[in-house]
């Protein structure tokens, strides 16, 4: 079937159909991204924490802007080449456009990767520490978890003597992890007592698992099967008994409505008991000797003597010191603490001086004292350059961020001012992309630091869970990135599979490239706003 109006325009609109279609699509896209920008404004206005303004590295964003603008020009040149029936020229320009899309996504990937590996922790007094965590080692070798991943030095350690699993919810990989950890410490996890159960209606109680049986997913699955079968059978009998009681009540008092009868209807447990079989909702195991188990913080709700995993496994045992160990601290941020202090009418400087970090870390104390000096210098410079207003107040003052955040560049400036050699230009430029170079800068610039568990208020990588800024950042740039990928696929299709179409009807291909190009320009247009809003404001 021939599709009408793909080369020649319709008389009523004066346009070929796919052009109308792409503009309708772009109009809906304007509304979609408009909605996200609007959401950004709402989130920023309503943020109850210091908004991380100008927090992303500008250079990758700037290069990506150049790349997208350049690709917008090459795609329009590719279209013009087709109009002029210059196939080779079209290939070159379209090839550059697709290459630009690839460069954009690579840079975006680097940026995401840096964020997803960068750790932040907000202490209970609202001090924020940023940096990179170390990895658990044993005899100098990095330990791997049950998935084969390296284990960050951010684990909850519990010396457990007893484990109680939920027979319905237990998570098999975690059971295997516990077994593996116990075996590693030459310990055994065995059933604490016989599991006795009535498995048939009217039957006798029998032992379905013996005390001393070793923990295994198979054993738990067997108990789970018995439990689920019992639950199914019992629910049938309970429902039947309740229905019977309900009928009796209704016959006795037909004038009453259901809700009036509800209080009078009840099942006699003693009468029902012979029809029921045993449900085993939990099963307890003993760890012998007690073992120091490691858990990811997100998987466990820790307590001094009893903790609980997300799959409802109860761990009885002593909670050990489980610090979060930064191998490199690259920023100390007192902005949130200062904001909270100001809200309470407390002098922020005094609040920071009294903060846990300043009180307990000589490095932080020294950096904070140095930073106060830098802020004083900046105040003096601004006063000198811009003077005061009519009321005698300085026209320009350091920002909240200037005053209360010690970023990685400030930490570098501090040690360089103390005589540490500077990095080469290339190495410094690389830092603008992937963040500080810990190996070259050394521990004196970005030191190790151990954060006690009890001081941690909230911890996360720089992912959408850290704050609403990162949530909207990943949403907007992620959606935009998907558009880049989608656009590149379509344009790549024209590049690599368009020859046949070109030979058959070059104007048709030119129209299709124009439509694809319009989408590509829109992708560029969105980025023109995303870049200043997310990177520069």
């Amino acid at each position: 079937m021939e599709i009408p109006y793909i080369v020649t325009p319709r008389k009523d609109t004066g346009l070929f159909n796919s052009k109308i279609a792409i503009w309708l699509f772009l109009a809906s896209e304007v509304m979609l991204f408009g909605g996200f920008f609007s959401a950004y404004v709402f989130l920023r206005i309503g943020a109850d924490y210091p908004w991380p303004e100008r927090t992303l590295p500008v250079l990758p964003g700037l290069i990506n802007t150049f790349v997208l603008i350049g690709s917008s020009v090459t795609v329009v040149f590719a279209w013009a080449s087709l109009k002029l029936r210059q196939w080779r020229r079209f290939q070159i320009f379209m090839g550059i456009t697709v290459a630009c899309a690839a460069i954009f996504m690579v840079l975006k990937g680097i940026e995401y990767n840096v964020k997803l590996h960068h750790q932040a922790v907000r202490l209970k007094d609202y001090t924020v520490i940023e940096g990179h965590l170390g990895y658990e080692k044993e005899d100098g070798v990095e330990v791997k978890d049950y998935k084969g991943h390296k284990i960050e030095e951010n684990q909850i350690l519990i010396e457990a003597s007893k484990l109680t699993f939920s027979t319905v919810r237990f998570h098999k990989p975690w059971v295997e992890s516990l077994m593996g950890q116990a075996a590693h410490h030459n310990a055994e996890i065995t059933l604490t007592e016989d599991i006795k159960a009535i498995t048939e209606i009217g039957g006798k109680e029998e032992v379905i698992a013996k005390a001393g049986d070793k923990l295994s997913p198979g054993l738990l699955s067997r108990i789970q099967k018995a439990h689920l079968a019992a639950r199914k059978s019992n629910s049938v009998h309970r429902t039947a008994a309740l229905r019977e009681e309900w009928k009796i009540a209704k016959n006795d008092s037909p004038e009453l409505k259901g809700w009036q009868l509800a209080g009078a209807v009840s099942v006699d447990p003693a009468a029902l008991a012979p029809k029921l079989i045993s449900e085993i909702s939990t099963v307890g195991f003993t760890v012998n000797p007690p073992v120091e188990f490691m858990f990811r913080p997100r998987d466990v709700q820790e307590g001094a003597t009893q903790s609980r995993l997300r799959d409802d496994t109860v761990i009885e045992g002593k909670l050990l010191e489980s610090p979060m160990i930064f191998h490199h601290v690259d920023a100390i941020d007192f902005q949130h603490l200062a904001m909270k202090a100001e809200q309470k009418g407390i002098d922020p400087i005094s609040a920071i001086d009294a903060s846990w970090l300043v009180q307990n870390s000589p490095f932080a104390r020294e950096a904070w004292e140095w930073h106060k000096g830098e802020v004083a210098k900046l105040e003096a410079e601004l006063l000198k350059d811009y003077g005061t207003d009519k009321k005698g107040n300085p026209k320009r003052e350091p920002t909240h961020k200037d005053r209360y955040r010690i970023g990685w560049k400030e930490l570098v400036k501090k040690v360089e001012s103390e005589g540490r050699p500077k990095l080469s230009g290339t190495a410094s430029l690389a830092e603008e992309f992937v963040g500080p170079n810990y190996a070259a800068r050394g521990d004196e610039t970005f030191p190790h630091f151990s954060v006690p568990r009890e001081q941690i208020g909230f911890a996360s990588k720089f992912t959408p869970s850290w704050n609403t800024y990162y949530a909207i950042y990943f949403t907007m740039t992620g959606l935009h990135g998907l558009h880049v990928i989608g656009g590149a696929i379509v344009l790549g299709y024209y590049l690599f599979c368009g020859k046949k179409m070109y030979l058959a009807n070059p104007e048709w291909l030119a129209n299709r490239v124009e439509v694809g190009g319009l989408f590509w320009h829109f992708v560029d247009l969105v980025w023109i706003f995303v870049f200043p809003v997310l990177y520069l404001m």
């Binding site: 609109t13 004066g14 346009l15 609007s38 709402f42 020009v73 247009l525 200043p532 520069l536």
Partner: protein, 110 residues
């Protein structure tokens, strides 16, 4: 829209000029945001940085739409379609601005 070979050849010059303006506009946006000497308003980010940044971005976006997307000589139907999307975004922006009058935005509640 440019359709004849002569018109297309002529248009390519304007594409290059616009590309140059877009590059310059991008550099200017970054300089305004990062260089203290070009900082207007208060020190650091403030309303003026926001207004200026968005103004430059709007000019750049308009150039892309006007020249690269050929809105400088399009059919009426396209203006109606794209215009409706823009109107929606403006309304959404206005709603955001109206949020300031929401009593929950009262500083007392902060």
């Amino acid at each position: 829209m440019a359709n004849s070979p002569e018109e297309i050849k002529k248009a390519t010059t304007s594409y290059l000029i616009v590309c140059g303006i877009l590059f310059l506009g991008t550099v200017l946006t970054v300089l305004v945001a990062t260089l203290p000497a070009l900082d207007i308003g208060r020190h650091g980010f403030d309303m003026w940085d926001c207004v200026l940044g968005l103004l430059i971005a709007s000019v750049k976006a308009s150039l892309v739409a006007y020249v690269f997307m050929h809105l400088n000589h399009e059919k009426k139907a396209i203006y109606w379609i794209f215009g409706s999307g823009i109107v929606f975004v403006i309304c959404l922006g206005a709603l955001t601005a109206l949020a300031y009058s929401d009593p929950l935005h009262d500083p007392f509640f902060k």
